[in-house]
């Protein structure tokens, strides 16, 4: 087990996000974390990467309890993982080459010639070797995400975390990113966690999946198991239906009453 989240409680300003969350990520597999917006998918990633700490419960990564680790131990752990941010999060004052080289320069003493080879290899893998001299502002959303992916894998991490990797991508970029996630997992054996609400895309690449709802895991299993689930909440999410236990409308006063009240005032 690479990641073991057990009975985690977490609240923001008194509003509970997780109320007894259990998630396990197995080595060498692609695990999908799904759920409607606002269910805490990104918060779960923050817990796993020790950006925030659970109020209660235990988060273990590679067998280490994150709550018991010092800052330097957390940094040592982070060197073994890579993360792809929704917007790429490329450093805007460096070109593509320097962005990918950044973690190598910071954590190794490799000679410049070797860094160059390493960076170009990773850029070639994401199809952007020719864009090495471009600045982040000159890249499209899909290209920025591919550069970020090259940066995330440049130190050959054991685990890769993808935060909403498919959002806002055109079909070609989306297909490329999906193939890359699959390739990283199959060719390099990298354990992957993919947070997304794109059910169809995840179903084709994920080995395991979790559906979060109401602060807990609503369903878990292989994507096809989730699709076959009888649970109304799972069915609603998988079919994208407005009607179901997950309300489309945010809690509000009665519609007609509010409309007429506005007229009277």
């Amino acid at each position: 087990m690479v990641v073991d989240v057990r009975d985690v409680y977490y609240a923001v300003s008194g509003r509970p996000i997780f109320t007894g969350l259990d998630v396990q990520v197995r080595r060498g597999r692609i695990t999908a974390i799904m759920g409607p917006s606002g269910t805490g998918k990104t918060t779960l990633l923050k817990l796993i990467t020790a950006q925030i700490a659970a109020d209660r419960g235990e988060v273990r990564v590679r067998g280490q309890d994150l709550a018991a680790l010092s800052r330097s131990e957390i940094y040592a752990l982070r060197k073994r993982l890579g993360m792809l941010f929704q917007n790429g999060a490329l450093l805007t004052d460096m070109d593509v080459f320097e962005n990918v080289a950044f973690p190598v320069r910071e954590h190794t003493d490799l000679p410049e010639a070797l860094i160059r080879k390493l960076v170009l290899t990773k850029l070639q893998a994401v199809g952007l070797r020719g864009a090495a001299e471009l600045m982040p502002g000159e890249l499209s959303g899909g290209m920025a995400r591919r550069v970020a992916l090259a940066r995330a894998v440049v130190l050959d991490p054991e685990m890769l975390i993808y935060d909403e990797p498919f959002v806002g991508l055109d079909p070609i970029s989306l297909g490329v990113i999906m193939r890359l996630i699959k390739h990283m997992n199959e060719a390099l054996g990298i354990t992957s966690i993919v947070v997304s609400h794109d059910v169809r895309e995840l179903a084709t690449i994920a080995h395991d999946s979790y559906l979060l709802s109401g602060g807990r895991v609503a369903a878990a299993g292989a994507p096809e198991q989730l699709r076959a689930s009888d649970s109304p909440a799972v069915r609603q999410f998988m079919t994208g239906s407005e009607d179901g236990p997950v309300a489309f409308h945010y809690p509000a006063p009665d519609y007609a009453t509010q409309l007429f009240a506005a007229d009277e005032s």
Partner: protein, 254 residues
């Protein structure tokens, strides 16, 4: 109710002061490792210092010219226009150069620092660094802080030199004060202590303004409004703190 609002205001002030103090201690701890990356610090001196040169030089020239004009007008009443050089030099070295430079620094370089770091926060660049096991305090905040601290005395010195030229331009070239008297009086009356006072002030203002700019950017809410608010706070807090520190340092040097 007024008492509770007052208490809240004081509490918030103390909380903010505590936050800046803790940040300052952490930042100082990261400054030593940051010194191992001189390239980053030089880049920040360029950003905060060299890019502020035009505004500092122009302001210095105009302030010096005003000083020459006002000083001449005042000293003429007492028949001692030959003291114009001394008055301009003391005014610039001890007060105007460090204070005006700090205020301009807050408006030009301080806001740039805050908005740059705030936008890095808003676009997840700082979080990405943390995930890559690179401390953004060491890599982003410390070089910018050091760059600001080193740039401020240099800018204040340039302000003084250009200001003196401006005062000389008006006093000597326009109003006809004797050039030899202007410079020799200055040379005879301005001591090392006066220069030291200006340098100490500009270093302290550099620390205060850079700290506020970096702190506000680092803790800005990751939204457009958050970055805008942080930038405004940088200018307001830096200006007020500069003037407060100026009074305290002036009193200390008396």
């Amino acid at each position: 109710m007024i008492a509770s609002v007052g208490n809240g205001f004081i509490l918030e002030g103390v909380r903010q002061l505590g936050s800046v103090a803790i940040f300052f201690v952490r930042l100082l701890g990261e400054c030593v490792p940051a010194l191992r990356r001189p390239r980053l610090i030089v880049h920040q001196i360029y950003n905060s210092g060299a890019r502020s040169l035009i505004i500092i030089m122009l302001s210095g020239l105009f302030v010096g010219m005003v000083l020459g004009l006002q000083g001449y007008e005042l000293l003429q009443r007492f028949g001692s226009v030959e003291a114009l050089g001394t008055a301009a030099a003391l005014g610039l070295l001890k007060e105007l150069a460090p204070v005006v430079t700090a205020l301009l620094f807050a408006g030009r370089a301080g806001t740039a620092l805050t908005s740059e770091i705030g936008l890095m926060r808003a676009t997840d660049q700082l979080t990405a660094m943390e995930i890559m096991a690179v401390d953004p305090l060491r890599y982003v905040a410390a070089p910018r802080f050091l760059g600001g601290v080193l740039a401020m005395p240099l800018l204040a010195a340039i302000f003084s030199v250009i200001g003196l030229y401006g005062a000389q331009l008006i006093g000597v070239e326009l109003m006809g004060v004797d050039k030899g008297v202007f410079w020799s009086q200055m040379q005879g009356s301005v001591g090392l202590r006066n220069v030291t006072e200006g340098v100490v002030k500009s270093v302290v203002f550099g620390i205060a303004c850079s700290l506020i700019a970096v702190h506000e950017g680092y803790h800005a809410a990751p939204t457009a409004e958050g970055v805008a608010l942080a930038t405004t706070r940088t200018v307001v807090a830096s200006s007020v703190i500069t003037l407060l520190l100026d009074y305290m340092l002036t009193a200390a040097f008396l």
